[in-house]
Symmetry: C2
């Protein structure tokens, strides 16, 4: 692989005990690990050994209290990633932050501080928050409607970008001997619909100027936001056809905003289930999904989309229209739309659908060879630029991926064998 | 020194190039150091070698733009301290945070995350922010008046304490095999005048339950806030008499709130200037204050308190009433009140006054022996519990303090020779 070759990008999710909640009893992680520094340090070192582009932390600022649920978002992502970056070199960091429940100055300052301290390893995943439980932790007002959240998110990011570049310190004392020249830090005097901020930021530009901006929403508002601001898109893409349609939509929107679509990379979620055989991987998929068997997986799909279990034939092709969610509904619309988009481009039965995703992300299962083949397949024709790998269990499935899948990708010449010392995450992604 | 002996506590300030802005040309720190991780790592290791209780970062979220000013508050304190704590063991961390310009849930979460990741090394210095430049970075509203800021600060801290203790996870799976028991995380349903927060926090109690609370304001509102919530008070105390009066006022207030005053420790600011002789230290004091000579120091005092330079006799005793600031004025009232309180208990001339403080904090100058003697003097009768040392220059004056003053304090048996492994900062302070 030459320096100019197109690279496969792989981030790795490290939230708590793994991406699939029901999988925890099959793993070694225990309650105490959820907030144990050593647990995350071990995962980060493992990820470094696997040469992943970046560590990925999703987030929402609330503790889930439902029966049978598990704390999935606990330690503050920027704090945890700062801790890990101080101990593990090279690897990038993706911190998810809310544009609805932060003030732009504080958020710009914290993220730029991390980017300065890590010499440019930070990616900020800007989300507008979709959960009423989160809203209840930030006042008595309900969650704003999606349109208002995205309008605010747009202004938020515009403002944060101005703050990130508002102070470029002198390298040397000024000719008059002044320790610094305050003319290099300029007020931005931002006055928008949602925010009024004088600036400048009191943290200077970082070695990569400012953090890379990631985006995760899949609704129309989310895609417009991605096209306007996103550099790394953590989308929910379940097939080549769906990926190409998403890419086309995103590229058209990006051009509308005068952006070069080649500077927007797709690294959708990927849940890998690697086993000695495909049959074994199918069984693990059921177990990790909390299902007794395939019929139970199908029952879960029926529930998620509000279908009638009495009339649903698991072997009859289902159309996108039959599962279309209400666009005005709450929750993470983008997650459900992934399956809708899958069906728009490919006729599938419920029995087939349930094997295409896990936790709403692309499911790739089989032997290490089979998983590696599928990863390369969607990457090599440019449908995706890589993946954000969400291991069903932490740390076991990261370990399996690093030991079995990564070496195949390296053998095939599509994935790095080592980091370039001092490279920023912006340079690693070719942005 | 036995385990039960009363201990001298010493924090060390590490903001940028040192506490006294005009001192920078006399030091080795340069513009690039202000945001260089290696600069702070070096200081933190030096502080660890000196066995300081904790690293102290003051803060305000704005970049100073005045001519001749220097960026003094840049990298986010919680982010910088997390970075340092991941590389340097044992030493505690004091992060200054604004109760006016943060949301309680986010702030509770970030601070508790640091406390969990550092196994209980965090002290949070809660300030209400006093600078209009800060207000301009958080909306178009002016800075709220002091009373409103402290009313909000009180509610803020009440709420944050509830959040900090709202989730105590199970140690082991519940009897039914559940990974966690959601009954151990309880909503707090806080509804106050300023905030409404459901909770619980999504970060659990830390090894020291939650961060220690420090407080820094010296106005009457500040003292009431300290008496109600403070555990470590970073006050501005310029003499034994002033310290005892402050202590008495604080203790009386604390008892009103039903608190045990022995659980509130005074660690006022201290600017040490250590030289081979007292005469040399006096000269350094002038240089580090940006003064040409003693007369120039006196001129600075005259300006700060708005006195008439034409009529001021530097050798006539001045009274507290002559320099009393308007209690309704903006700015950090506590800073000016330190000098007022000094004069209330001791007749001093301007020539004497200017040698009692630097940067508004207690100035101790002379040889290492003389400085150590003065440190012990105010500590041994309980006037103070220790100091927050503010070195005129970073890193030189930390180095001098560690190499020359600390060994004397250790010889005298009043300061630790080593850390107790795994000790929380709460335990170190005997709280």
């Amino acid at each position: 692989m030459t320096a100019a070759a197109r690279e496969l990008h792989l981030n790795i999710g490290l939230n708590t005990t793994g991406y699939l909640e029901p999988a925890w009893p099959q793993g070694s992680a225990r309650i105490a690990d959820i907030n144990a520094p050593a647990f995350y340090e071990r995962i980060a070192r493992l990820a470094h050994r696997g040469r992943f582009d970046a560590l990925f932390l999703s987030d929402h600022p609330a503790l889930r209290l439902g029966p049978g649920s598990r704390p999935f978002h606990t330690l503050d992502p920027l704090i945890l990633l700062t801790h890990l970056a101080a101990q593990v070199p090279d690897i990038g960091l993706v911190a998810t932050v809310s544009t609805t429940y932060n003030s732009p100055y504080n958020l710009a300052r914290r993220t730029q501080s991390v980017d300065v301290l890590t010499a440019g390893r930070l990616i900020v995943n800007m989300v507008s928050s979709f959960n009423p439980d989160v809203a209840a932790n930030f006042g008595s007002e309900p969650l704003p409607p999606r349109a208002a959240r995205y309008a605010r998110a747009h202004e938020f990011v515009e403002l944060v970008k101005q703050l990130w570049t508002s102070w470029r310190p002198l390298e040397k004392p000024a000719p008059d001997g002044a320790f610094w020249d305050q003319t290099t830090g300029q007020p931005i005097d931002f006055a928008g619909e949602y925010f009024s901020v004088r600036g400048p930021l009191n943290v200077p530009v970082s070695p990569q100027t400012h953090p890379v901006i990631a985006q995760a929403g899949g609704s129309d508002s989310g895609i417009a936001f991605a096209a306007r601001h996103g550099e790394i898109i953590y989308a929910n893409i379940l097939s080549r056809a769906a990926g190409r349609a998403f890419r086309a939509k995103l590229d058209a929107k990006a051009r509308e905003f005068g952006r070069d679509p080649s500077k927007i990379l797709l690294v959708p979620g990927l849940v890998p289930i690697v086993a000695e055989s495909r049959a074994e991987a199918l069984r693990l998929h059921e177990t990790y999904s909390g299902a007794r068997d395939e019929a139970d997986l199908i029952a879960g799909f029926t529930r998620q989309f509000g279908l009638d279990p009495a009339t649903l034939d698991p072997d009859r092709v289902i159309t996108a229209e039959e599962i279309l969610p209400d666009p005005e509904q709450g929750g993470a619309l983008g997650f459900l739309l992934g399956t809708v988009e899958l069906l728009r481009h490919e006729p599938l039965t419920p029995r087939q659908i349930v094997r295409r995703s896990a936790g709403n992300h692309l499911l790739l299962l089989g032997t290490a060879e089979e998983v590696a083949d599928q990863i390369i397949d969607l990457w090599q024709d440019g449908t995706v630029d890589g993946y954000t790998v969400q291991p069903p269990r932490n740390p076991e499935d990261i370990e399996i991926f690093v030991e079995k899948v990564i070496p195949i990708l390296q053998e095939r010449g599509v994935f790095r064998r080592d980091y370039i010392p001092g490279e920023t995450i912006r340079a690693r992604y070719g942005l």
